[in-house]
């Protein structure tokens, strides 16, 4: 079951793996009391963002343009949502900083990524 993947730079591999680990941690946070306290609807929105970010990382791992694009959009959306609902603390700030760095690195390799699904 070998899958043909374009040559993936090491930095993308490292950042994707770090991203996957953080996503696993954030899955746990979906049901955190702090997230529930914002509102009954917020875990759904927050969870959707986490799921989309995970999917975007899969895309980046397979060197797909849609992965980098989706990661950038999701990062902006996540920051905007957290600021709007007042859920932007120190941890969110650190997460936002690293997400922006990740997005910039991913977009640097945008030209080398594939266009198909």
């Amino acid at each position: 079951m070998s899958i043909a993947i374009g040559k993936r730079p090491k930095i993308i591999s490292i950042l994707s793996v770090v991203g996957f680990i953080f996503s696993a941690g954030q899955i746990i946070a979906i049901s955190a009391p702090a997230i529930r306290d914002v509102g009954g609807w917020y875990p759904m929105l927050y969870g959707s963002i986490i799921a989309l970010r995970f999917i975007s990382l899969v895309g980046v791992w397979y060197m797909k343009k849609w992965g980098a694009e989706l990661f950038a959009y999701v990062t902006i959306t996540k920051i905007a949502v957290q600021v709007l609902v007042g859920d932007f603390g120190l941890a969110s700030g650190v997460d936002a900083f690293f997400s922006v760095v990740f997005a910039i690195v991913f977009l640097c390799f945008y030209k080398r990524m594939g266009r198909d699904l």
Binding site: I3, I27, S31, P43, I50, F54, L117
Partner: protein, 414 residues
């Protein structure tokens, strides 16, 4: 339209795959079931208790200051011997507060006791008797299921009337209407003019179900309201737009003046408010909720890894089938949706089973424990949301790898 048809076909494929491997399906969704069950069970318990506290706090009054001998939450050591030696409150002090306070909306002087209540041959022992001045209904929130509250005249003249709790009414009168009938309290007859609406157990122990409320004037004829045994205290309600902290400052000044406490001397009274009592309880439930969340979340995470593993196995088993589908024109996203739907359905079924277990537990708990647990819509939605998200996250990589397969190599794999 075509997309919906293909999506439907993906889901049908997914259900078929799950039906074919029943045992594997059941075993793999158990992790999610247990995780959702654990996390929602804890949240249901915590939310139900927190809701009960909120209700109790509301009924006691969030804008009420209780002037008592002992503090509810002492600063430092609990010096009970010192508190016990403090003077009891008198009705004169209550009148002084009423006269001097600019921030108080209502002042109630209240005393408590226990008595055996009798009606014909029925009796209830050790019922809680609450004696209060007229403004009690303005300070404490309660509803009457029938009848009325005292009039100011009845309260002032000490007429032998009473408002009884729902449990007292059930115990003495069963299905009969108690209004207009008289019960004996400490040897004196009192006419029932009202019945409190049933409240159930209170987290702060202030349920009116087992209480009889009598006017202070009447109470003076059957009990020594200003004795230590009656534990008299005052409840002072703030005017609207006045902070409880401001009222406490004012009450402190008035009480020190009334009791002639020197500036260098400590107060011999305590000013309590309900929020102080509710805070530590909420903190305890917060800790319980966090522990439950951590345990449940890790169960779900482990369950998610289980689902991902099963999906990889499923992709490997059906590699040649994927190859045939692709060679017949199936698009990558169709293959992706097919496996993603399988994973989401698997997790969703697991989540629904977990929620059903929670519902069963709630029914059993409500039957055996005198407490109303509620499986809220918020928690049901949370459980389903987590299930779907875990399904998407744990199924995406296997589904995507299946979608990327080369049809020729996939067909040749077997």
């Amino acid at each position: 339209m075509l997309f919906l048809m293909l999506l439907r076909e993906s889901v049908v494929f997914a259900f078929h795959a799950l039906r074919v491997n029943r045992l594997r399906t059941i075993l793999s969704l158990l992790g999610i079931t247990i995780g959702i069950f654990a996390i929602i069970a804890v949240f249901t318990a915590v939310d139900s208790m927190a809701g009960k506290i909120r209700g109790s706090v509301k009924s006691l009054g969030e804008d009420v200051v209780f002037v008592q001998r002992m503090p509810w939450v002492p600063e430092g050591e609990f010096k009970w011997w010192e508190y016990m030696n403090r003077p009891v409150f008198t009705e004169r002090e209550s009148d002084e507060i009423k006269r001097r306070s600019l921030l108080a909306d209502a002042v109630v002087y209240t005393a408590n006791g226990e008595a055996t209540l009798r009606y014909n041959t029925s009796f209830i022992e050790n019922a809680s008797v609450v004696a209060a001045t007229y403004e009690y209904d303005r300070v404490k929130q309660f509803d009457l299921s029938s009848g009325r509250y005292f009039t100011e005249q009845e309260s002032a003249t000490g007429k032998a009337v009473t408002v009884i709790g729902s449990s007292i009414a059930d115990g003495l009168f069963h299905d009969a209407d108690p209004i207009g009938k008289s019960i004996t309290i400490k040897g004196r007859k009192a006419y029932i003019i009202g019945v409190f609406k049933a409240e159930g157990e209170s987290m702060l122990g202030n349920s009116s179900d087992n209480q009889v409320l009598i006017p202070m004037g009447f109470a003076r004829s059957i009990m020594d309201v200003e004795s230590e045994r009656s534990e008299p205290f005052m409840m002072v309600k703030t005017r609207s737009n006045v902070l409880v902290a401001d009222l406490k400052d004012e009450l402190k000044g008035i009480m020190r003046s009334v009791r002639r406490i020197q500036p260098t001397e400590q107060e011999n009274f305590a000013l309590n408010e309900v929020s102080v009592l509710a805070g530590p309880l909420k903190a305890v439930f917060g800790v319980v909720g966090t522990i439950g969340w951590i345990i449940g979340a890790f169960s779900i995470l482990v369950g998610g890894f289980g689902i991902a593993n099963i999906m990889f196995v499923s992709v490997r088993e059906r590699t040649s089938q994927i190859g045939i589908q692709k060679s017949l024109g199936a698009k990558r996203w169709f293959i992706l949706m097919q496996f993603l739907a399988e994973s989401v359905v698997l997790c969703l079924v697991g989540g629904i089973l977990g929620l059903l277990l929670d519902y069963t537990l709630v029914l059993i708990a409500n039957h055996f424990i005198d407490f109303q647990f509620v499986l809220s819509l918020n928690n049901i939605t949370l459980g389903l949301t987590i299930s779907v998200l875990i399904g998407i996250i744990s199924g995406f990589i296997p589904a995507y790898s299946a979608a990327q397969l080369d049809p020729v190599e996939a067909i040749r794999s077997n």
